[in-house]
């Protein structure tokens, strides 16, 4: 039972080596290939995720910058519109002033015309009155007393009329 046969030892060694090769080629190599592929993919996805993050960061910065610019622009627009508004206001006010002056001038003119007309009417009336009084004087018998009365009456009438 303890007889050693060299060839059988050799056979077993060969068997063992075959088994080792089988393990290497069909088990470890295949599993390693899959595992390394998987870890490579994981690395890739990590790298791409990092890249995306960077891109997002960049985008954020861009937006922040743009936002700042927009603020400035906004201020500019507001200033411009304010200026425009002032201009417009000035223009309107000037217009209004002009118009008002025009109206005032017109009104003055009208008033002058009116006054002229009234004056004319008054003068004509006064003339009538004078004519009338002259007529009266011419018609009536006149002495100092009546003359005085007549003058007073005339003056009163003239004052009354002029008032």
């Amino acid at each position: 039972m303890l007889n050693i046969s060299v060839m059988n030892i050799v056979y077993t060694v060969i068997n063992l080596l075959i088994l080792y090769v089988v393990f290497r080629v069909f088990l470890f190599k295949r599993v390693d290939a899959v595992m390394s592929e998987r870890s490579r993919e994981i690395d890739d996805s990590i790298i791409s995720a990092n890249k995306k993050e960077q891109e997002a960061e960049q985008l954020k910065e861009d937006y922040a910058l743009k936002l700042q610019n927009a603020d400035k622009e906004c201020e500019e627009i507001v200033a411009k519109s304010r200026k425009d508004g002032y201009d417009e206001y000035d223009r309107i006010v000037n217009d209004a002033k002009n118009k008002a002056e025009q109206i005032i001038a017109e009104a003055k003119h009208n008033a002058q015309v009116e006054a002229q007309r009234e004056k004319d009417a008054y003068v004509s009336e006064l003339t009538d009155l004078v004519v009338h009084a002259a007529n009266k004087i011419a018609v009536s018998k006149h002495d100092e007393e009546t003359d005085k009365e007549l003058y007073n009456k005339f003056i009163f009438e003239a004052i009354e009329k002029s008032e």
Binding site: N3, Y11, N15
Partner: protein, 229 residues
């Protein structure tokens, strides 16, 4: 009960299975080697089944099993070998699986290949060759030769003797364990033919067989670790 007769039949049977006529039977193939072929074929088919159609994503259940097996076995041998002997772990996995499967053959009513001294001798021979090769590869020939005189020149004969003692001890441990288990199982089967042998077979065939495989690989790894340090 004829215990002597049983043992004689068991231990003194003719182990030659395939006989070649020339060279006085020098190239005869033992039964154990033939069983080893069977183990080899079964393991290869199993591995091919497990690793066929491997994918990176959406892995199937058998691929998961394959990956878990690889991880576990490599974890075991890595724990024994350490960082220095990393390159030998695949071989250690192969030896572990080979011895384990060989010892489990007893479950199917066959005699385990490790019941034959030639197989265990071959295994231990491979181990000692690997250990020394690892030492030479790591240290170079000069340093390797010098390492026999460490820690003192006086122990050099002991160290040289260890070259023979280590494989002998590995070989005899495995062989003795398997032969003891097999003999006890045969005696049990003779004494109580049913039920009891099944219960004991769990210990002797499965537990003891796997423990011995583990111990064999553990000791070899220990020697390698020592050699590459």
């Amino acid at each position: 009960m004829d215990i002597g007769g049983l043992l004689k039949e068991l231990l003194l049977e003719d182990k030659v299975m395939i006989h070649f006529d020339f060279m006085n039977g020098f190239f005869d193939i033992n039964k154990s080697v033939v069983i080893t072929w069977g183990v080899l074929v079964v393991l290869t088919l199993f591995i091919l089944f497990l690793t066929s159609n491997m994918k990176v994503h959406n892995i199937s259940r058998k691929q998961l099993v394959a990956e878990v097996i690889v991880e576990k076995l490599r974890g075991i041998t890595y724990g024994m070998l350490g960082e220095e002997g990393l390159r030998y772990r695949d071989y250690m996995v192969a030896v572990l699986v080979f011895i384990g499967a060989s010892n489990l053959v007893g479950l199917f009513g066959l005699t385990p290949p490790t019941f034959d001294l030639n197989v265990t001798a071959a295994l231990s021979l491979m181990s000692i060759v690997l250990v020394e090769a690892a030492g030479i590869k790591k240290k170079g020939v000069r340093k390797w030769v010098k390492s026999f005189a460490e820690p003192m020149a006086v122990v050099a004969p002991m160290n040289v003797l260890e070259l023979a003692i280590r494989p002998l001890s590995l070989c005899m441990r495995l062989f003795g364990n398997i032969i003891g288990a097999t003999v006890i199982m045969e005696l049990l089967k003779m004494a109580v033919p049913i039920i009891v042998p099944a219960a004991f077979s769990v210990y002797f065939d499965i537990f003891d067989g796997l423990i011995q495989a583990y111990v064999f690989v553990f000791l070899t790894s220990l020697y390698i670790k020592e050699a590459v340090e």
